[in-house]
Amino acid sequence: MIDDALAAFLQQGLAINIGTRNAALEPHAAYVPAATVEPGGTHLTVFVPVVAADEVVADLRDNGQAALVFARPEDDRACQVKGVFESVRLAGDDERQAVQIQYAGFMRQLDTIGTPGESTRQWVIWPCLAVRLRVTALYSQTPGPDAGAPLS
């Protein structure tokens, strides 16, 4: 579902956030420092900092629905990935470097647009839970009249 070009875009180090909702349809959210797309593009794993995971994971366990928004600050290219919950586990030390590389890429993006990235490095990005999702839909979210249109 996610082709190679889109996978490369999603994994380059972007602003990533996950949204869920509870039984009362109240949204919850968390910052995601990194995401990895599995070969074939039907699943992806998102890394959610443990300090931010309680409500989001509770929602996922309850109803499985997730929405992820990816945005590249330097040109505002953005897309939304809808998915359903498959599993959650504590991320391993072997995954830590991949998370840090993507996070550093996001920091460089912030520097590019003149927003100081340095202080953002105080954000908590580890330890993380690795949340595996099955991709159900992709949408463009680049600002403009086509925002919200499905990505083929």
Partner: protein
């Protein structure tokens, strides 16, 4: 709500994009980036609605929403749990949000395309810190807003304004005072131009050149949008939009899509990040526009905005009074020009060319000025060449039918000030020096060859 929204105003400048989370009635969540969250009051915010999208359909079905913002000063993340209340398509809130979008769009040539359709108002039910985005002390040390300091600063600026003798010194006192007292190091004042719907830069501070004569059309850039709407605008994080605009403009000019114009570029910063534009209005009439800018992304805080807006009304009256005073001074001047013996012109060192059709003056092949100031300069130089005159009065200019001054509100003094400043910058060896109220002296430090073209 445990945290007062009033303490989070830094988060609402659009410097770091916010994220909006909603859920459809069928339970499908949605996540989207937002360009701007607007502070409405201590319990409400508004989100801009520019395009029909899923988030908006969701809140129509299910009023629960969540917005996350980041404080640009500390990088602390904040979560605002919201409940949709209403959409506004008119009124002060809508106007404020629409103007901000319009100003940015105008820099990109997108005015009228990117526009606000509605301001969606939400009640803020809960505010809490985002745990994974903890803040740290502000990167830039700022003095907290202090009413006593502000009042003293206003008093000092007021004293400087009162001491100013004439329109030129007044404008310079305002801009220098904004820098020395308030720390606003780059500023400019534009007054209505000769042609309707235009502004002309009359005074600047903090830029390499004086920028006098630079023109802006109503609706273009922050000054033009402020003039058109007669409302203040504050923008943070402009860099990308500005670069895009300049690049687009240059490419369009290269292809010949934009006609080459004899317009002097505005003296603004090459990479402004923050701009604050305030209309100077007296009894509903636009006297001018004050624009302050900075290369710092979030330079103008709430207290700065409030102070400058407050100042705007006072400055407008001061500027209008100075203009009226100089106009009245005409009656105090002698009724005729002071005679002078013809003087031999020194050898020509400047070539001044007047294009009658365009009403434009070029000096040594370089554009100097057009319109009424161009005609005045030509008249003065011709009189000097023919009769050796150096003393002139505003009154004789007003009586000269060839200058075609309007009978009502001719703004002659403003045009003379503009001419003096253009000469200072581009041709300092030709000077028009005030020699009393309603009088001025032509001073030439070299010869001038006068050439007239159709």
């Amino acid at each position: 709500m445990s945290v007062c929204l009033d303490t989070l105003t830094s988060c609402f400048q659009g410097l770091i994009p916010a994220t909006l989370y909603t859920s459809a009635a069928d339970g499908t969540p949605n996540a989207a980036y937002l360009s701007h969250v607007e502070y409405v009051d201590s319990t409400h915010v508004a989100l801009s609605f520019q395009f029909f999208n899923k988030s908006r359909r969701n809140v129509a079905e299910n009023p629960h929403a969540l917005v996350r913002v980041v404080d640009p000063d500390t990088q602390q993340g904040w979560e605002l749990r919201l409940r949709f209340v209403r959409s506004e398509t008119a009124g002060p809130l809508f106007d404020r949000m629409a103007l901000r979008i319009e100003a940015i769009a105008s820099y990109c040539g997108m005015k009228g395309v990117f526009k606000l359709l509605a301001a969606d108002v939400y009640e803020v039910v809960v505010v809490r810190k985002v745990p994974e985005q903890p803040g740290q002390p502000a990167l830039v040390a700022r003095r907290p807003p202090d009413a006593v300091f502000t009042m003293r600063a206003l008093q000092e600026l007021s004293a400087r304004i009162n001491r100013a003798d004439g329109l030129g010194p007044l404008l310079d006192a305002i801009l220098r005072g904004l820098d020395e007292i308030f720390g606003f190091s780059h500023s400019m004042i534009l007054l209505p131009g000769e042609h309707p719907g235009t502004l002309v830069t009359i005074a600047t501070h903090g830029y390499p050149g004086n920028g006098a004569g630079a023109e802006a059309r109503f609706g273009e850039g922050i000054t033009g949008v402020v003039a058109e709407a007669m409302k203040p605008i504050r923008i943070s994080g402009l860099m990308r939009g500005m670069l895009y605009t300049y690049a687009a403009r240059f490419r369009a000019e290269e292809k010949g899509w934009c006609p080459a114009e004899r317009r002097i570029p505005l003296p603004g910063l090459a990479n402004p990040e923050s701009q604050l534009g305030v209309p100077l209005v007296v009894r509903g009439e636009l006297v001018g526009v004050l624009c302050i800018e900075s290369e710092t992304p979030y330079r103008f805080h709430e207290d700065d905005r409030a102070t400058v807006e407050l100042l705007g009304a006072y400055l407008a009256i001061a500027i209008q009074n100075a203009m009226l005073r100089e106009e009245d001074a005409v009656d105090e001047a002698s009724t005729g020009p002071a005679p002078a013996a013809p003087a031999a012109m020194p050898a020509a060192s400047r070539e001044v060319m007047f294009y009658r059709g365009d009403e434009c003056v070029m000096v040594d092949g370089e554009y100097l000025i057009r319109g009424l100031p161009a005609k005045v300069l030509w008249k003065v130089l011709k009189a000097h060449a023919a009769e050796g005159r150096t003393e002139f009065t505003n009154r004789e200019l007003r009586l000269d039918k060839s200058l075609q001054l309007p009978e009502y509100k001719d703004n002659l003094e403003t045009r003379l000030l503009l001419l003096r400043r253009r000469l200072e910058e581009k041709c300092p060896d030709i000077r028009l020096v005030p020699s009393g109220r309603g009088r001025f002296t032509l001073e030439l430090r070299g010869g001038v060859a006068l050439i007239e073209r159709a």
